[in-house]
């Protein structure tokens, strides 16, 4: 279990900053998800922790030891961490047990101890009967478990996971998510989990770090990211929030009064001074109402049935398309509808 600290770390590939001045403190034993669209730099950040990349500027330290800085870096093989690769990277010429025991044999762990730890790790993932199989004889989910057992056998302080569920089907994904959480709890190791799937990040992680274009957007508890996004990117990316322009009138005690298309609305959040700002709206915090002066109005341009509710899209002039979660019979396409704002969040400027 170790703390991982990034201080103003920059990594360039050619002329683009894959990781741009990122400072991040990953706490001892926490489950941190690195979330972002593809190409945002999250995998590079993970590979910086592993030591596959060396920072061009800034420092990376484990606890109180610097492991990476420009021109000097501790080699991955000396960092004592474990990693689950997107492709699993199981060595095809070794049996399951040999795969799991490789790091122990590299570290000269005596055979009886090694065999005990291998069978423990295999038992932990429920593959004790598959020890002598070759990776190609296993299903996708089983390979995933072998990759996990290979990590566990090392008893590492830090476990890195690079989109480990990307190649599995939805059902297996949910099972494996539970397994990962369980192993996190049992091993006590620091988990850093890279994913582009926000549901996965939100449901598993203690904290989520959202990245975009090499920069850290926000780090926080999943609930805080959802309720109180700090940037437009986070608001749109997490939970597909709608970001609309507003005019702030007054701010007091964590609330603001803002004008949304002329309509006065009370929203959560704080603004230093009155003026233009951006608010984040969510479908479940909007309501379809009869058109009138106290609501936003516009024609219904789309209805999409989701099971428990219907998402009704209303085109409001001066605001844009608003998606509203609606139970009961939805209004017809083209019909004029009103949208009432129940709750909203003012993005910090």
């Amino acid at each position: 279990m170790a703390r991982v600290r990034f201080e103003a770390v920059t990594k360039r590939f050619g002329r683009t900053n894959a990781v741009d001045a990122v400072s991040l403190d990953i706490r001892r034993g926490e489950f941190l998800a690195l979330l972002g669209p593809s190409g945002c730099g999250k995998t590079t950040l993970l590979r910086l922790i592993a030591g596959f990349e060396t920072p061009d500027a800034g420092t990376i330290s484990f606890d109180d030891t610097i492991v990476g800085q420009a021109s000097r870096s501790v080699a991955p093989e000396d960092r004592g961490l474990a990693m689950v690769f997107q492709s699993y990277a199981l060595w095809p010429h070794m049996s399951v047990a040999e795969n799991v025991g490789f790091s122990l044999s590299v570290r000269r762990v005596a055979r009886p101890e090694r065999e005990r730890r291998v069978s423990e790790a295999l038992a932990a993932v429920g593959l004790q009967d598959f020890a002598s199989r070759r990776p190609h004889e296993l299903s996708g989910g089983q390979r995933q478990r072998v990759a996990l057992a290979r990590c566990l056998a090392m008893r590492p302080g830090i476990v890195l996971l690079d989109e480990p569920l990307a190649n599995l089907d939805t059902h297996l994904r949910e099972t494996m998510q539970r397994e990962f959480r369980r192993f996190h709890g049992e091993s006590g190791a620091t988990f850093v989990y890279v994913t582009h799937d926000q549901t996965e990040a939100m449901s598993m992680a203690d904290r989520v770090a959202v990245m975009d274009r090499g920069q850290l957007q926000q780090v926080g508890h999943p609930r805080d990211l959802y309720r109180e996004p700090s940037t437009e990117m986070v608001a749109r990316f997490v939970g597909r929030g709608m970001v609309v322009p507003v005019e702030v009138e007054r701010s007091h005690d964590g609330f603001c009064e803002v004008r949304l298309d002329g309509l006065l609305v009370c929203v959560l959040g704080a603004a230093k001074e009155p003026g233009p700002g951006l608010a984040c709206l969510r479908p479940e915090n909007l309501e379809i109402a009869a058109p009138g002066d106290d609501v936003l109005c516009g024609p219904v341009v789309d209805t999409s049935y989701q099971g428990a509710a219907t998402i009704v899209t209303v085109l409001v002039a001066g605001v844009g398309e608003l998606r509203v979660q609606h139970t009961g019979t939805p209004p017809r396409l083209g019909e004029q509808a009103g949208v009432r704002v129940l709750d909203a969040w003012l993005l910090p400027s």
Binding site: Q69, E77, L90, P92, V106
Partner: protein, 578 residues
């Protein structure tokens, strides 16, 4: 473990003074290639571009341009190579089109016969042709067609060189065109047929233009090979008084010794320029052939020949019998002949020549053993170097290793004669520090072989390495394995078949080597290639044929083993599976 409540000053990393394990491996590979390849070739260039006795800039080169024997050899080389290339293109292209585009049967057998020149070295091919066409030809005598005894063999001439080299290098054109045709998508032809074109029309107006760049690429390669060929001009051109650049270098070095190294280095540079020019053209044509077509649909479907199939098949087999099988048969027959001029039949046939050539004649026996040892050592060492080099360049993407990849290709791409001169230049003087010269020992042959053949192991190993996912190596790093451990435990088990294929390929090629050996051998350090050459010159062609036949037999056996191994290899690892 205490919580980090008290912020401690982070410990700084020590600055690295020595290269890490991977750096050391890279350094070793650099040293290997510097010693065996870069130094000799660099030295050759320096020597060739040096001023002459009068101190003129590039004097040695200028002197050569003014020498009659050089200009004649250059002219002969260009002329014979050009004509041979025309023959190679005609033969290779027609065979590639017939095999790739029609439904003739027994394609595997046909392809094998077409690819025989990859396995049988030029001097043995030349020898076989001499046995076939000479006055004592066992086959022509059987048919009553042989020339009168005492007549000069018609192959001792420019035409003879063109014929044998043309056939020899047709394989290169065949492979290039076949690869080009395999890249063509089926839908282009299908569209042409829907537009109303009959198969022949579709072939001429759609396939042929698209295959044109591959034909040119194959032609360029055939031309480069012809320029660098030594075996054929040596066996046919020297008695035929038709000197070419490679034989000119050989005869000058043989006649005057190392004192004229500068002069022959200047000739060698001309050979390099011709080869580099040809290879650049080939690269250009290959890129052109790849860019012309988008690979979208399945590969071409062969056209049905219908009633024409049997005559076409008969024609192909007839051609192949004349150009490949008959000469080999003549070689075998000659090896069974008791003495020159004695007619061969069931009663006279004897294995004495084999006993003589392989066991009882001391020099010939030595040559056999020397070549076996040299070939085995070269194969093992090259495979062992190819693995770390390919690992660093492919999996680890080290820029320096990627550059070394190119360096390793050079000694095989340039004519062997050129490499041999570079090796002599560097290794003739006593080795610094040791005070002994390896010139005149078997070690200089080993050095030359190691330089020349590394690429043959590197290519299959590289192809195998490219199928490995870099994450396999990264996972081992995370597990704590250092570079040597990763190469041993992760890389080696996965590329071992490719390395074995490369090693076998080197073994075959080195066993048959003549070009480099002809300039580097010394008494007691003969090789098979040199010995066949020598026996033939002494007039003992039955013994030369026996030695050649034995070598071909070993070669074919190993090729067969390679074929078995081939199923476990990625595409392109073995040339005839490309």
């Amino acid at each position: 473990m205490a919580d980090a409540a008290l912020p401690m000053a982070p410990r700084l990393l020590p600055r690295r003074l020595l290269p890490d394990g991977e750096g050391l491996i890279l350094l070793a590979v650099v040293a290997y290639l510097a010693l065996f390849t870069l130094w000799p070739l660099g030295r050759l260039l320096a020597e060739a571009l040096a001023p002459n006795a009068e101190g003129e800039l590039l004097g040695l080169l200028r002197d050569q341009w003014q020498s009659r024997s050089f200009t004649r050899a250059l002219q002969n080389t260009l002329e014979a190579s050009a004509f041979a290339t025309v023959l190679s293109v005609a033969l290779g292209t027609s065979m590639a089109f017939l095999l790739a585009l029609t439904d003739v049967r027994a394609k595997t057998a046909l392809t094998f016969v077409l690819l025989l020149p990859l396995l049988i070295p030029p001097q043995i091919t030349a020898l076989s042709w001499l046995e076939l066409t000479g006055p004592s030809s066992p086959i022509l005598n059987l048919l009553g067609l042989a020339a009168a005894p005492g007549t000069t063999n018609p192959l001792y001439s420019r035409e003879g060189i063109v014929l044998v080299m043309g056939i020899e290098h047709a394989t290169l054109v065949f492979l290039a065109v076949r690869a080009g045709l395999r890249h063509l998508p089926r839908d282009l032809v299908e569209a042409a047929r829907l537009a109303g074109a009959k198969p022949l029309r579709a072939t001429l107006s759609v396939i042929a233009p698209l295959a044109f760049p591959s034909i040119l690429a194959g032609a360029a390669l055939a031309f480069v090979s012809a320029i660098g060929n030594f075996g054929v001009p040596a066996l046919l051109g020297i008695p035929g008084r038709y000197p070419m650049l490679t034989t000119l270098i050989y005869r000058r070095l043989n006649g005057f010794g190392p004192s004229i190294l500068g002069e022959v280095a200047a000739i060698a540079v001309v050979l390099i320029l011709l080869a580099v020019g040809g290879l650049a053209l080939r690269a250009l044509f290959s890129r052109w052939s790849r860019s012309a077509v988008e690979r979208s649909s399945a590969p071409l479907q062969p056209f049905a020949l219908g009633r024409a199939r049997l005559p076409v098949e008969a024609g192909i087999w007839l051609v192949l019998a004349v150009i490949a099988l008959l000469p080999l048969t003549a070689l075998v027959a000659s090896s069974l002949t008791p003495a020159l001029g004695v007619p061969l039949n069931l009663h006279t046939a004897t294995l004495d020549n084999y006993r003589f050539a392989i066991f009882s004649q001391a020099a010939s026996h030595r040559a056999f053993m020397n070549s076996l040892m040299l070939a085995a050592a070269t194969a093992v060492v090259s495979a062992a170097i190819a693995i770390p080099l390919a690992y660093l360049s492919i999996l680890r993407r080290r820029p320096l290793a990627r550059a070394l990849d190119l360096v390793a290709d050079t000694p095989y791409a340039i004519p062997g004669t050129v490499l041999a001169i570079g090796i002599i230049l560097v290794y003739l003087p006593p080795l610094p520090g040791l005070g002994v010269s390896i010139y005149g020992t078997i070690w200089i042959l080993l050095v030359a072989y190691l330089a020349r053949f590394l690429t043959l192991a590197l290519r299959p190993v590289t192809a195998g390495m490219e199928t490995l996912e870099p994450a396999l190596d990264e996972a081992a790093r995370v597990a704590g394995a250092g570079p040597l451990r990763r190469i041993w435990s992760i890389v080696l088990p996965n590329v071992a078949p490719a390395a074995a294929a490369g090693g076998l390929l080197i073994f075959i090629t080195a066993l048959n080597e003549l070009t480099v050996s002809a300039l580097l051998w010394s008494s007691g350090k003969e090789t098979i290639g040199v010995m066949i050459f020598a026996l033939h010159y002494e007039g003992n062609s039955p013994a030369a044929s026996a030695l050649a036949t034995a070598t071909v037999a070993i070669t074919l056996l190993i090729a067969f083993a390679l074929g078995l191994l081939g199923r476990r290899l990625p595409d392109g690892a073995v040339p005839w599976r490309a």
